[in-house]
Amino acid sequence: MPESLAITKFSDLANPTRFLGLAARILPWMAGITAILFALGLYLTFSSEGDYQQGMTVRIMYVHVPAAWLSMMCYSVMAVSAIGTLVWRHPLADVSHKTAAPIGAAFTLIALATGSLWGKPMWGTWWVWDARLTSVFVLFLMYLGLIALNRAMDDPGKAARVSAVLILVGFVNIPIIKFSVDWWNTLHQPASVIRVDGPTIDKEFLWPLLIMAIAFTLLFFTLHIAAMRNEIWRRRVSAQRRMAARMAGQTPAKEA
């Protein structure tokens, strides 16, 4: 098969079989690099000094910020896939946004939990209803709602289109989360890494944070590709079972 040439073409990546082949090849590498980055990141995290203002608790940042970043990036990935579903009617796009939802929910949960654990010593309370926290919580509910929607519908194609519409409508929440700390005066501190005028954060914290962020991002993509592969397998099993049911009807029934 002349696949070496065609593999570069996006349209051929569309072929689930081709995707499975690619996934099988790159998944071990991605998993390995993720593990190495996590080891390095965690080492840097625990060897760094505490912040003079926030003390040792600044170490929570190295989990909290990457998780919060992923909770938004995952939704953006889902939004792109949703466009893929609605505009190009791409079967892999369906699979992509369906499988990203549980992963996104998990990372949002980490962001909420670690934020809460950071807030208790800093602000003296587990939870406040300020703009940033509330909008992230709404994001979490949206992830769960999408999971429930996908589970509630029998026909995966229809479920994918309906949830794609919902994902795109819900995308308005992402800018609200990102800019909530600038637009409203909240307890949550403003962004210090991704800014127009360059990061304000101290170099000492920046490196571990960056490495942890890259490690988390790679972890997300590894899990997402693996989950997509599972979903493709699941649909294959389902298709083959349906076919098996049809074939059993055609063979002459045995006399009892």
């Binding site: 587990w126 209803w129 300020d130 919580f137 709602g145 999971i147 429930a148 589970r151 509630a152």
Partner: protein, 219 residues
């Protein structure tokens, strides 16, 4: 009978099951309260137990109408009615399975919502405990409503209307026990024991009433 329990549990977990949706509804209902009353943490912690209880009550009502409806639609209910086992026992098992699939997740999710309402640790513990004891009563009361409404089109709404007034005592004693745990002069045990008594009372009355209704609505 274990087979029936396991089957109903499997159905509540597999696709289309109500467990996840109930919890999600619970979280959403409680999460909109601060938007309505404002993010004042002191106020929220004061009304917290009541809000969590009302949220749990509404979410428990949500899945009730499906309790016998699905079995009726595919004809399983007919076969269950014909069997040798007393119908009361069958209904009791179905209630138990329904509570494990829909009520227990609410109890497990309640501490999280307690944190969101800025409740103290004691208040969260008390609310969770009262929900653990009180939600079975909601299921047993709901079973009667679900059995009465089983043959009706759009029975879901009717179940809520039928069940809500009966559930008020559960709400009263559940909330007052939760408050008694945090507010000093009031003792915790009397309302809590009344709540236990209500649950045990409905555990007897509910299945009997539901069995009676199911026998009489068959057509």
């Amino acid at each position: 009978m274990t087979a029936l329990l396991l089957r109903d549990l499997k159905l509540s977990i597999r696709s289309g099951g109500g467990a996840l949706i109930g919890v999600l509804f619970f979280m959403t209902v409680v999460a909109v309260i601060p938007f309505g009353v404002g993010p004042d943490l002191n106020l929220l912690s004061r009304i917290g137990p009541a809000i969590v209880w009302i949220g749990a009550l509404l979410s428990a009502l949500l899945g009730l109408d499906r309790m016998f409806q699905t079995d009726r639609e595919d004809g399983s209910l007919d076969l269950l009615l014909m069997q040798e086992h007393p119908l009361v026992l069958t209904v009791l098992i179905k209630c138990l399975a329904h509570w494990l699939g829909n009520g227990l997740p609410l109890v497990i999710a309640s501490p999280l919502l307690g944190l969101f309402m800025n409740m103290s640790e004691v208040a969260i513990g008390a609310t969770m405990l009262t929900l653990l004891v009180g939600t079975p009563a909601l299921t047993f009361i709901g079973a009667v409503g679900a059995a009465v409404a089983v043959a009706l089109p759009r029975g879901g709404l009717l179940v809520s209307i039928l069940v809500l007034p009966l559930a008020i005592p559960v709400l009263i004693f559940g909330v007052s026990a939760s408050y008694a745990a945090v507010e000093d002069p009031a003792p915790f045990m009397p309302p809590f024991l009344i709540l236990v008594a209500i649950t045990m009372f409905f555990a007897v009355i509910g299945p009997i009433g539901a069995a009676l209704a199911l026998r009489n609505t068959a057509d």
